[in-house]
Amino acid sequence: MELIRTEKLEKTYIDEDVRTRAFFDVNLKINEGEFVSIVGPSGSGKSTLMQVLGYLDRPTGGKYFFEGKELKTYSDDELAHIRNEKIGFVFQAFNLLPRLSVLENVALPLMYRGIPIKERNKKARELIHLVELDDRIDFRTSKLSGGQKQRVAIARALVNNPKIIFADEPTGNLDSKSGGIILEFLQKLNEQGHTIVVVTHESYVAHAGERILHIVDGRIDKDERVEKRRIVKEEGFSK
């Protein structure tokens, strides 16, 4: 079932009369339950594409359909609600609030849905258990290791039971062991039916997915099915 479709999607920045095309002529389709990797060198436009697909930014041209509905018609507030309810993000820099506890960070998206604190904490606890951080639940996130932080970020991304998870260089700030654990989690989630889109410049991360979109100079250069997918749980993970 189709979740995402784009037609000639384009993003151009204009800064002091200088036009910079981040990406253009992007036509793609992502179905529910897929694990898609977007790869490309730095500056190829892959992160910008992910931000537009994740409703963090608006395209400057083309069409973007999410669950069959076009983005154009949404207001800023509606985009915020969609990000809250249908999309989960995992960032390279973790982006946790350091003064909040693990529990509070994971429960944060639920707060913006107006869910009472008891219910939020119950749901957040379940996800913290899933990422195996029960013993760190009341720690401030500033006290955690990089790998633990990213697991908190994954729990937070999942807390609203989203349609899709966008992970932007999720292993970029991690050592290989922690990176392996994160990828293993993402694969596990995918097995459970979650749609995953990982943006990376590293091919061994990309091969954790079942499909790779190669972006070069702002365009999709190649859209390939992975013949031999890397199953991290079995093969391990090394840079």
Partner: protein, 414 residues
């Protein structure tokens, strides 16, 4: 939609990250509200003190004063050194046919003189009045007696001492029957007044009261009165009695044009009104000065909120990525500003009432003034409302700025 309790919790979290900065930020508001509270409370206390003092006289008292009505608080010249109220005026006022609704007519004459007993010397206010004075001023004689109509008739050299004077001149000795020196003459002490809290009008503790005839002739050597108090038989008859007094005095003084009156009349209500006006104006003026510090405090809040918005740009980006709407972010920062100013306001209200307490205690202890402590509820409500409005006025701009930030630019902010 985000819950109110969550907004409040987030705002608390926001201001507790930088505790010392938050404390310094609210200082301006605290100082402003403290001053407003103190000014309003002290103003109310002063008003109550003076009004209370005036109300020692019954509401049906009419004061006849020599000279002209002072045009303002600084214009006292009109009433000083004026000798237009004479014995004849007093005698005519006493006639029932002239003032049918008057109950008592009490003349007053007063001045400062030096008094002494043996080697002890004291500067005292000598007040000459009639036998009705005791009741008119609600005085209590602690020992001995008050002077009577016979003393007045005979121009007896007798005095009743205020408690402080008794203490200064006699210490623990019983002064009844002793003779003190007033100016050049000797006067026999016949009574002592009970000590009383000092009001703003007359400090009887430091006064000597005596028959007016004796004070006029034997002490001050004058033939006029400083006041004549007419007690009307009811409040309703006050206006008619005032008319009668005016007619009589103009007649006695051969005045045709009321503009040229050499006397004027005040009622309790007049005086209370004048005092309320004066304290009201003073309170407004002082409050306006205090309000300037609130504006300065408000600018401080705005400044810190702008810094906070910039510092927390990435947090704003993240919250938006997780589903916070522009309004959610605006509310979060506005709540922080409001919480800061309202906390400042509450501390200010507490500080203001403590300050007022200290001031009124000091007035009682040091100046021996019967200064009541008043917690100005109006001041407290004003203080908290004003601090809320300041928070709203100076917090909305930074909060709007925060709310309008784009999620992706904020996330990438370095």
């Amino acid at each position: 939609m985000i819950r109110f309790s969550d907004s409040l919790r987030m705002a608390m979290g926001g201001i507790f990250i930088h505790k010392s900065r938050s404390i310094l930020t609210i200082l301006g508001i605290v100082v402003g509200i403290t001053s407003i509270m103190a000014v309003m409370s002290v103003g109310q206390s002063a008003e109550e003190l003076v009004i209370g003092e005036i109300q020692r006289f019954g509401p049906a008292n009419i004061f006849v004063l020599p000279g002209r009505q002072p045009s303002g608080p600084m214009d006292a010249a009109g009433t000083i050194l004026n000798d237009s109220l004479k014995e004849k005026d007093f005698n005519d006022l006493k006639k029932k046919s002239n003032l049918p609704n008057a109950k008592n007519i009490i003349p007053y004459v007063f001045g400062y003189v030096t008094t002494s007993f043996e080697s002890e010397v004291y500067d005292a206010m000598v007040i000459g009045g009639s036998e009705y004075m005791e009741k008119n001023f609600d005085l209590t004689v602690e020992s001995g007696r008050f002077f009577d109509a016979v003393d007045i008739e005979q121009k007896e050299r007798v005095v009743v001492l205020g408690s402080k004077i008794k203490e200064e001149l006699f210490g623990n000795k019983d002064p009844i029957g002793e003779k003190i020196k007033l100016k050049d003459g000797k006067f026999r002490v016949i009574g002592i007044l009970a000590p009383e809290g000092q009001g703003s009008f007359v400090d009887f503790n430091k006064s000597i009261v005596a028959p007016y005839t004796s004070v006029q002739q034997n002490v001050l050597g004058v033939h006029y009165f400083n006041r004549i108090v007419v007690e009307a038989d009811s409040i309703e008859s006050v206006p008619g009695t005032i008319r009668d007094i005016k007619t009589l005095l103009r007649n006695n003084h051969s005045i045709d044009d009321p503009e040229k009156d050499d006397f004027f009349i005040q009622t309790q209500e007049d005086i209370a009104e004048r005092i309320k006006t004066i304290t009201g104006i003073l309170t407004v003026l002082l409050t306006s000065v205090a309000a300037i510090s609130l504006i300065v405090g408000g600018i401080g809040i705005m400044n810190i909120m702008l810094v906070s918005v910039t510092e927390r740009t990435r947090e704003i980006g993240l919250r938006k990525a997780l589903g916070a709407t522009n309004k959610n972010i605006l509310t979060q920062f506005l709540f922080e500003a409001l919480l800061l100013t309202v906390i400042g306001g509450i501390i200010g209200v507490i500080g203001g009432s403590l300050l007022t307490g200290i001031l009124s205690y000091a007035a009682r202890a040091l100046a021996d003034l019967n200064f009541p402590y008043v917690f100005s509820v109006r001041g407290a409500l004003w203080g908290i409302c004003v601090s809320f409005v300041i928070g709203l006025a100076f917090g909305i701009f930074p909060a709007r700025k925060a709310g309008q930030r784009s999620p992706i630019e904020s996330l990438h902010y370095e």
